[in-house]
């Protein structure tokens, strides 16, 4: 019996190496969804931040180190979205292969269309600004396509034996994405050109792709809670400029946005900006489908 126990224990420790699947860990569920499209069942994909979390404020919990320790590929959104937690995790994970500059480290923003890159001087009087550009770029499906291509390239370097599978999976993903984009464009036509106010500046890539006009934010500056004076002027602006709806990310408290929406007389819509932001959003395709459905319902012409 004692020998049997030892054998079971030893098997637990040895199980991981025998499985030999490439382990991919991403910072967000969005990147994990894209990685799964490319990897299929060839690699094991995990993530750190859940889709219903504010990705700016994730705790660098030591349990994440267990995920990172065995990862062969780490993928981050970059542009300092994860500056408060990813660097600390990487340097504590004791896994040199996924440190910046190594093949196992990938910044998904490279090669993507990045909006709102500050041109002039920048300091924190502007709030918690991102000096390298707006990091919510995955909300443009064309950037999703570029990210998937980059993941396929990187996986093929790390795991050349399965390069053919990654290439085939990528091709299937791109074909499906091209088809879906036509559907999404048709859905977005219902609200194209409407003016919206959002809580945080999370939506420039989405707005550009699907034709929303973001005129203001509930936050006066990124990461800064609104003052009564800002709320007062925001309500006046919503009324004056004919704003059609107020979009709020699910991780923000809805009490104040509800008050703003009620006083300004516009609908409030809770729009998940990430895969996993709602129960049924499990893939990158689900994400845009749900977002467009919500916007069409709330702001459709």
């Amino acid at each position: 019996m004692k020998f049997l126990n030892l054998f079971v224990l030893a098997s637990l420790f040895c199980a991981a190496p025998l499985a030999a699947k490439v382990k991919v860990v991403t910072t967000t569920e969005d990147l994990a969804a894209l990685a799964r499209e490319v990897a299929g069942d060839t690699a094991e994909v995990g993530y750190i931040a859940r889709g219903y979390q504010d990705p700016h404020f994730v705790e660098a919990k030591p349990s994440y180190l267990l995920k990172l320790k065995k990862a062969r590929l780490f993928i981050q959104v970059g542009l300092e979205l994860e500056a408060g937690w990813a660097p600390a995790l990487l340097t504590s994970a004791r896994n040199p292969g996924i440190l910046p500059g190594r093949p196992g480290f990938m910044d998904a923003s490279e090669g993507c269309e990045i909006l709102e890159k500050p041109a002039g001087g920048l300091d924190r009087s502007l709030g918690d600004v991102h000096p390298l550009g707006n990091p919510h770029y995955w909300l443009n499906p064309e950037n999703g396509r570029l990210i998937a291509r980059a993941i396929a390239r990187r996986l093929s370097v790390i795991d050349p034996d399965n390069a053919g599978k990654y290439k085939a999976n990528l091709a299937a993903f791109e074909t499906r994405l091209t088809g879906k984009e036509k559907d999404w464009d048709a859905a977005a036509a219902a609200f194209k050109g409407i003016k919206v106010v959002t809580y945080h500046n999370s939506w420039p890539s989405f707005a550009k792709r699907f034709g929303l006009d973001v005129v203001d934010f509930v936050e006066p500056k990124p990461g800064i809670p609104p003052s009564p004076a800002h709320i007062h002027s925001l309500i006046a602006r919503i009324r004056a400029e004919g704003v059609s709806l107020l979009m709020v990310e699910p991780y923000f408290d809805q009490k104040l946005p509800k008050k703003v929406a009620a006083e300004a007389g516009v609908p409030l819509v809770i729009v998940p900006p990430s895969v996993g932001g709602e129960e049924g959003i499990k893939t990158y395709f689900d994400l845009f489908g749900r977002q467009l459905e919500l916007l069409k319902k709330a702001g459709g012409k």
């Binding site: 637990l12 420790f13 859940r50 219903y52 979390q53 504010d54 404020f57 994730v58 705790e59 660098a60 919990k61 030591p62 349990s63 180190l65 267990l66 320790k69 970059g78 300092e80 500056a83 408060g84 937690w85 660097p87 600390a88 995790l89 990487l90 340097t91 504590s92 004791r94 040199p96 440190l99 910046p100 500059g101 910044d107 920048l122 924190r124 709030g127 918690d128 000096p131 990461g223 800064i224 809670p225 699910p250 991780y251 408290d253």
Partner: protein, 367 residues
Amino acid sequence: MRFHKALFSALLLNVPAALPAQPQLSGNALQSSNILNPNISVVGWLQGETGRRNPAGEEEVSPFAVKEAEIAFQSVVDPYTRADVFVAVEGEGGIDLEEGYLTWYSLPGGLSLKAGKFKGAFGKFNLTHTPETPFADRPLAHEAYLGEEGLASAGGGLSWHVPNPWLLLNLDAQAFTMPEAAEVPAFDKARRDLLYIGRLNGYLDLTEAANITLGGSCALGAAGQEFDPVSSSSSTLSSRLYGLDLTYRWKNPRRAIYRSLFWQTEILWNRREISAGSHENTKGYFSHLEYQFARRWRAGGRYDWTQAPGGGTAHESGVLAYLTFMPSEFSLLSLQGRQVDRSDGTKEKLAFLKLTFNIGPHGAHPF
């Protein structure tokens, strides 16, 4: 939130060795000429104080003072190491190298090596520089055993992630040059002038929102020397300090910026050799509870009880309560009140106004 970035990240990620600040390997500079420069940040600490300290006149206190500006330089050195340097410029004019160390973070087998001057892995609280703690002071037990600035000295240490499939378990083994008793009262310089620290701690997620860290620490060193006039020889007295720490955290990730709970308790036991073959056992502890009840507001309290190393059964106890407002994640204003029952029977009542700010690249969020 992100305010205490640098040093606070170490507290959360304190499971590995003391990492008071985490360098950002990707760099933040906007100008290419700055890309290879180290990250430079400053934590400023201003404090007002009113009330009467006991014993009176023990410490001259300004009603309002610039306590410290802590300047941090952090950078990757090469593909194998990073460097972290913390210089404290005190309001009274003194300059002190609080920490300055290299970390080899690319070692195989889950190992990490550290060398230089750094804070010893004794408990969790010791790893935090005072400006970055929620308090205007340090817990009485920590002051009594580890000194006003905490246990830090020159030395080296290995940290190891103990492989297991259930939880993150970390083992630290460190050796330091023995600090003076004035700096770390639990120990004193002697001929055998090395201080050894060992620490084992485990971290476990209880739920998605709650987690717990349990750690045990041990420090072995000297407690000065005893001279025997008969044999004209001297012998080294020993001191052993044991610690147990428990940290519980709760934060709903769906509302992470609005509500959180933090509870930490540390207990210290000291077995000190008073003279050859004669030992004295003393102890101390503190317990700290903090609740974040709004995006920018936190309230907390701390209970202290401690004896002094080699100080017999006399003890002192105290409570500290605070209310903290954080205009942004880079500054805070904290109103605090403290009462201490001193061992001589007197009571000390003080009020503090603590103001800190952080400038520099974006560091890690506290955990």
